[in-house]
């Protein structure tokens, strides 16, 4: 490439060659000399006291190097992704789900470590267990965390409200009040690469290095150092290539601490790679929510108020579930005028595998609930679903403005999204066609496009970038952002091209290495393009200004007259110019050529972006995101009335992206999210038996979409560009935009096809068939 990449261009991914040829190294591909392999002994019981761990037989097996037992880690503090520090490296005296870590075996090979698992004898005293969030809230339910924990009361892990307007008056004034119960499923992110971590301990330097398949090198580093009692600067976390993350590779996990402890104890590198079964059964899944809705309406379809009670199951540990509930509530009323709302939710502990962050983070559950409720209302009122929504959508005259629950909106082109999606798929034509067993669903959503400030532990929503220019004008860009396939390095390369005119082959991006890149919160919540992207914009602009001062001096011109063209500072309107590389060389090497008083120096600029959002108040009011995006999605499905099988036959989505910085990456992010959302809608669900044991913890049994299940959507994925002013490049985060609408859109389409709403996810063939049979029965 001879010219710099710019914003708005579909620059091919800069890591394509490494990924296409198989040379990209993931944590399981690292091969340090003397590597040892760890495996975790996990509880076979959902709730029990641990009376003792006998490792003698395991230690006698040739090739076993050490066993880490609960008493070895009893002094280490609790940890969590959020503020309720209810997790231990190994379950100390109590196990709380089938799969809870009890001990770890470290051996010279994976096969020997696996063989040794059965030789670790754990004595348990079984306790009564509870597997359902509502049941866990009963007065006589077994208490899962009797130990004192911040704010935890019985099995109530967290309470969250979101209230605004005069709810009682609104219900009193309603022509119609509808009530419905919705239930969402325990889906799993299932990245292709399971969790894994490799640790090396340098005893002489007292320095730990951990390579981990993670989304947040710095906060993982901080939590790991705190857990081990090391200064944070003595721990280096490096993210190698990561094979998908989708939210569930956030923060510190037991296997990371165990790899570190194993390396410190043996003096050799130690790696833990979770098996696919462990990945399903012992890493976080999507929170199950039971949502009881009351909707107050006027006869013309105007929404007056939304009242809702939510019980959210977090499984055995809180993780970041409180924030999932909070964000879910904050977006529940969507891109609609809703003058009054009263949402009260509880996060409940159960003896099931922990739940928490998974792409969408509470919004898929909220959007499914709201949009299917709206279709139930539209049908009751005899209104077309699109017309019902049109009457309630936020309008351009509402902007800029603030919603009832405090979301500050600069831009939100939901009307344009609806029009363009309907036109793209010929919505009116689909309605007129009336093909038997074919259904059309149209849904709208609102999404945090500007990250989110909802970590109870800190009032910061930051990401950072350091740019270092070498004396030849080439650039190293370091950031806490942690790519797991999104194309971050490509985006940063384009931003550098836009601001400094550097070509892609002059830019090296280093991500998520705590000894080499600046501190920040990493990658989650659709934030990297907006947070670290804006930090990059800042850092590169500051660097350009520094270069421009020297360039102006070299050209004997006014700095304000300079423009950057093809890698050169040029005096506007003339052919006089100097290459950026020459300016960089002067700054490094040549005091005599510099402006008077300026010394030669390294060219390093750091910048942090703290997203302009706020922690909502005690009533759940406040603008938790820097900006908000929106979309309209239209799904077309065919239902087989004999089997109940649902097939997605067509799809349209108009998505507000702010500004598409790399249009192809935006489209492919949406496509991938939509595919995951279709899986969530139609079948993905972890199933536990009555003892809490996972029944479908393999890729054969947990079925994610294959190439045959996903419509080949391309031209009907529309980028709506609102050029939002909150970020300097005008864009919004879109990483989670794809996965949020599909469950809602498919639920509405199936309702349209069969005339009965399926109010619990997934929309399995069994449920659809049962609903069809029940309807036929009731009509006889």
């Amino acid at each position: 490439m001879t010219v710099a990449a710019r914003l708005g261009q579909s620059l091919p991914k800069v890591d394509n060659v490494a990924l296409a040829t198989g040379s990209a190294r993931y944590v399981g591909d690292l091969r340090p000399a003397g590597l040892l392999h760890g495996r975790i002994v996990r509880s076979p019981l959902a709730h029990a006291m641990v009376l003792g761990v006998d490792a003698s037989a395991a230690l006698a097996l040739p090739g076993v190097v050490c066993v880490i037992r609960p008493e070895d880690v009893a002094d280490l503090p609790g940890f969590s992704l959020a503020h309720i520090k209810d997790q231990r490296v190994l379950a100390a005296d109590r196990v709380r789900f089938v799969g809870d870590p009890v001990a770890a075996v470290i051996a010279v090979s994976e096969a020997i470590a696996e063989e040794a698992l059965d030789l670790v004898i754990v004595e348990y005293q079984e306790l009564p267990a509870v597997f359902d969030g509502e049941a866990a809230l009963a007065a006589d339910a077994p208490v899962i965390h009797p130990e004192p924990l911040d704010g935890v009361d019985g099995n109530v892990c967290w309470r969250q409200v979101c209230r605004a307007g005069d709810i009682d008056a609104a219900f009193a004034a309603a022509d119609l009040v509808l009530r419905e119960r919705f239930r969402t499923s325990k889906a799993h992110a299932m990245p292709m690469e399971t969790h894994g971590a490799l640790a090396e301990w340098d005893a002489a330097e007292e320095h730990l290095t951990l390579w981990s398949s993670t989304q947040n090198a710095h906060t993982l580093r901080d939590d790991l150092a705190d857990t081990l009692g090391l200064a944070r600067s003595r721990v280096r976390v490096i993210k190698p290539y990561v094979g998908g993350a989708f939210g569930h590779k956030e923060g510190l996990h037991s296997h990371e601490a165990l790899a570190a402890l194993g390396a410190m104890r043996t003096g050799r590198p130690v790696r833990f790679l979770l098996t696919r079964h462990e990945e399903f059964g012992a890493t976080v899944s999507r929170n199950v929510m039971v949502r009881d809705v009351e909707l107050a309406l006027r006869n013309d379809g105007t929404v007056l108020a939304w009242r809702e009670r939510i019980v959210q199951d977090c499984g055995a540990y809180a993780s970041i579930s409180p924030s999932v509930l909070a964000l879910s509530e904050f977006v529940t009323v969507g891109p609609y005028r809703t003058p009054a709302l009263d949402i009260q939710g509880v996060v409940a502990y159960t003896n099931t595998p922990p739940a928490g962050a998974f792409r969408g983070f509470g919004n898929p559950q909220a959007t499914f609930t709201r949009e299917l409720m709206f279709d139930i209302a539209a049908r009751r009122l005899g209104l077309d679903p699109a017309e019902f929504r049109r009457r309630n959508l936020l309008r351009s005259e509402d902007l800029p403005g603030t919603t009832a629950n405090g979301l500050r909106l600069q831009t939100l082109p939901i009307g344009e999204c609806a029009e363009r999606a309907m036109a793209a798929i010929d919505y009116d034509g689909l309605r007129r066609a009336r093909i038997p067993w074919r259904g059309v669903g149209i849904v709208n959503m609102i999404e945090w496009g500007g990250s989110c400030r909802w970590h109870p532990g800190y009032d910061a929503d930051t990401g950072s970038v350091t740019v270092t220019m070498a004396p030849d004008g080439s650039l190293t860009l370091g950031t806490d952002a942690a790519d797991s396939g999104q194309g971050h390095a490509t985006l940063f390369t384009q931003i550098a091209g836009e601001i400094l005119g550097v070509r892609a082959d002059q830019v090296r991006v280093v991500m998520a290495d705590t000894d080499a890149t600046p501190w920040g919160l990493g990658t989650y919540g659709s934030r990297t393009a907006v947070v670290q992207g804006s930090a990059a914009y800042r850092a590169l602009t500051l660097l350009r200004d520094r270069l421009a001062v020297v360039a102006a001096h070299l050209l004997e011109a006014d700095e304000r007259d300079l423009v950057l063209e093809a890698g050169r500072f040029v005096v506007a309107g003339t052919d006089r110019g100097v290459p950026v590389g020459d300016v960089a060389a002067v700054i490094h090497y040549d005091r005599s050529a510099l402006p008077p008083g300026m010394e030669p120096s390294a060219l390093v600029v750091s910048a942090t972006w703290d997203e302009p959002n706020e922690i909502p108040d005690a009533n759940g009011r406040g603008s938790f995101s820097g900006n908000y995006s929106c979309s309209t999605t239209i799904a077309v499905v065919d239902v087989d009335p004999e089997t109940g099988k649902v097939t997605v036959v067509d799809w349209a989505c108009a998505e507000d992206v702010g500004r598409a910085l790399n249009p192809a990456i935006v489209t492919t992010q949406l496509q991938g999210g939509i595919a995951q959302g279709i899986g969530f809608a139609l079948g993905e669900e972890l199933i536990l038996d009555e003892s809490g044991t996972l029944m479908n913890g393999s890729m054969a049994d947990y079925q994610v979409p294959t190439s045959l299940m996903i419509p080949l959507m391309e031209e009907r994925l529309i980028h709506v560009e609102s050029h939002d002013p909150v970020h300097p490049m005008g864009h919004k985060g879109i990483g989670e935009s794809g996965i949020t609408p599909p469950a809602a859109a498919i639920a509405c389409a199936v309702f349209d096809a069969i005339g009965v709403p399926i109010t619990s996810l997934p929309i399995s063939a069994e449920k659809v068939r049962a609903a069809i049979l029940a309807r036929v029965g009731s009509q006889r």
């Binding site: 579909s10 091919p12 991914k13 890591d15 394509n16 060659v17 490494a18 990924l19 296409a20 040829t21 198989g22 040379s23 990209a24 190294r25 993931y26 399981g28 591909d29 091969r31 992110a189 299932m190 990245p191 292709m192 690469e193 399971t194 290539y241 990561v242 094979g243 998908g244 989708f246 098996t275 696919r276 079964h277 797991s484 396939g485 999104q486 194309g487 192809a664 990456i665 489209t667 492919t668 496509q671 991938g672 999210g673 939509i674 595919a675 995951q676 393999s698 890729m699 054969a700 994610v704 979409p705 294959t706 190439s707 045959l708 996903i710 080949l712 959507m713 391309e714």
Partner: protein, 174 residues
């Protein structure tokens, strides 16, 4: 533990190793040969990330014992293309934005390349059928199908050029 000595061609080069008879071909490739481009993502043959070619035919290397490759030829992703000389399927995947995290990519490349050998002019539905044993969690498959279509087109164009050269005594020169 019973061991056996096997000799095979790996990406065109002869290799002789002694290994446990129960070793999976996948683990032999990754751990004994150090060719880590072949990925392990499940243990039950469902995901296709470990696909390689055995005597030119695509196999999931977690479902094959290494000793079954004795006397035969295997090709892994490392034998398909290299920086500056990508295999047409790799190039098409890159151009189509069909690669996100990359963990399924080697298996996808092996599966598509073998499929196109037998089906140089496939329909879109045939491509979707051919990919059903390869799971991708990032892309939703849309761009992977596009890439396979583009690679098929490029392959046909290449063959047409070669055929033209072969039938033209002037070697295609005017």
């Amino acid at each position: 533990m019973r061991e056996r000595r096997i000799t095979l061609l790996v990406n065109g080069a002869p290799v002789t190793r002694t290994l446990a008879v129960e070793s999976l071909l996948r683990d032999f490739i990754r751990d004994d040969l150090g060719l880590t481009g072949t990925k392990a993502a499940c243990d039950d043959g469902m995901c296709g990330a470990c696909a390689v070619h055995l005597d030119g035919a695509p196999v999931k290397s977690c479902l094959v014992l290494a000793v079954e490759a004795d006397g035969r030829a295997i090709t892994t992703i490392e034998g398909m293309g290299r920086p500056g000389a990508l295999h047409p399927v790799q190039a098409a995947m890159a151009e189509a934005f069909a690669i996100q995290c990359g963990f399924c990519t080697p298996g996808m490349v092996m599966t598509i390349a073998a499929f196109l050998e037998d089906n140089p002019d496939p329909s879109t539905d045939q491509i979707r059928e051919a990919l059903v044993g390869n799971i991708c969690r990032c892309t939703g498959y849309v761009r992977i199908v596009q890439a396979a279509r583009a690679a098929a087109q490029a392959g046909r164009a290449l063959r047409a050029t070669r055929a033209g050269l072969a039938s033209d005594p002037a070697g295609g020169k005017p």
